[in-house]
């Protein structure tokens, strides 16, 4: 169904390879395709930011922070920039909400749902796999469950968000053109943990 609605996600062709490189006891890697992603730019000190926070049901977090509502994760990417991540199909609704709350104040709302895809890396070895190409300290003492970061992973840029559900994990947002490279790199990095 999803593919009918959305076409082909950047890592559809790597789905089997990612599954094959995953092992429940060590690390699991899978694409999380088609999430709604909307960039928001607004002055965090202004009334518009407050209106947006109220409309979303979560105050806009500072840089590196993540605020979550039932449907949406709000990632603080910079002093006046956020990435809102919602369920499939929610992009237009999110844009409408944001645009309405912005109410012609200076800001920007841009649909970037297809610009990046998301790769989930989870399991006990997730941190070790990522740290083969990511220089950030991903220790839970430092990169806690409400943190995100824009950084380099291997030789591409990415947004990292901690995504602990049942087990420790991360969402890695990667630009669609780099997605296969990142997937291949992750498969290689996870190889020693057996898949």
């Amino acid at each position: 169904m999803t593919a009918d609605l959305y076409g082909a996600s950047p890592l559809a062709v790597r789905a089997d390879a990612l599954a094959a490189s995953s092992s429940p006891s060590t690390v699991r890697i899978a694409e999380v395709p088609f999430r709604a992603q909307v960039t928001l730019r607004v002055d965090p000190r202004g009334a518009a930011a407050e209106r947006i926070g109220a409309a979303l049901g979560a105050a806009l977090p500072g840089p590196g922070g993540v605020a979550r509502t039932e449907r949406v994760a709000v990632l603080g990417l910079g002093p006046d920039e956020w990435l809102l991540v919602g369920p499939e199909g929610a992009a237009q609704g999110l844009q409408d909400t944001l645009t309405a709350a912005l109410d012609r104040a200076f800001g920007a709302v841009v649909d970037v749902s297809a610009h990046r895809t998301i790769v989930q890396v989870s399991g006990p070895k997730a941190r070790e796999v990522l740290n083969k190409g990511c220089a950030l300290d991903l220790h839970p003492r430092v990169f806690a469950s409400d943190r995100c970061a824009q950084t380099d992973v291997a030789r591409t840029s990415a947004i990292l968000m901690r995504h602990d559900v049942v087990e420790p994990g991360f969402w890695v947002f990667v630009r669609a053109s780099f997605a296969r490279y990142l997937a291949d790199w992750l498969i290689d990095a996870a190889a020693e943990y057996g898949g």
């Binding site: 840089p63 590196g64 910079g78 220089a135 824009q150 950084t151 840029s157």
Partner: protein
């Protein structure tokens, strides 16, 4: 590997940044009013001290914000950073 304090993302490896040269060199208010020599001065001439230097950096792999940094070019000691708009211009043409 310098650890550069991005005012927004915190300390990161220097490989995440783009270097922007001397800080505080303002774009002239009216370029057409400058002589050729003055314009060339703005375009091509920058300080290159051994010691403390106020310089521009941009967090390319992170928030993509420009900021100024004071760094000792001989030791790489970083003496302070701040968001660009909060810093004063010290040099102008």
């Amino acid at each position: 590997m310098m650890l550069i304090p991005c005012p927004w993302c915190g300390p990161r490896n220097e490989t995440e940044f783009h270097y922007g040269g001397q800080a505080g060199v303002a774009y002239p208010r009216d370029p057409q009013a400058l002589s050729d020599a003055e314009w060339a001065q703005f375009l091509f001439f920058r300080d290159n001290p051994k010691g403390v230097f106020a310089e521009r950096w941009m967090h390319r792999s992170g928030c993509r914000r420009w900021f100024d940094l004071r760094r000792d070019t001989a030791t790489n000691e970083i003496l302070g950073a701040g968001a660009h708009e909060e810093q004063e211009r010290t040099v102008s043409v």
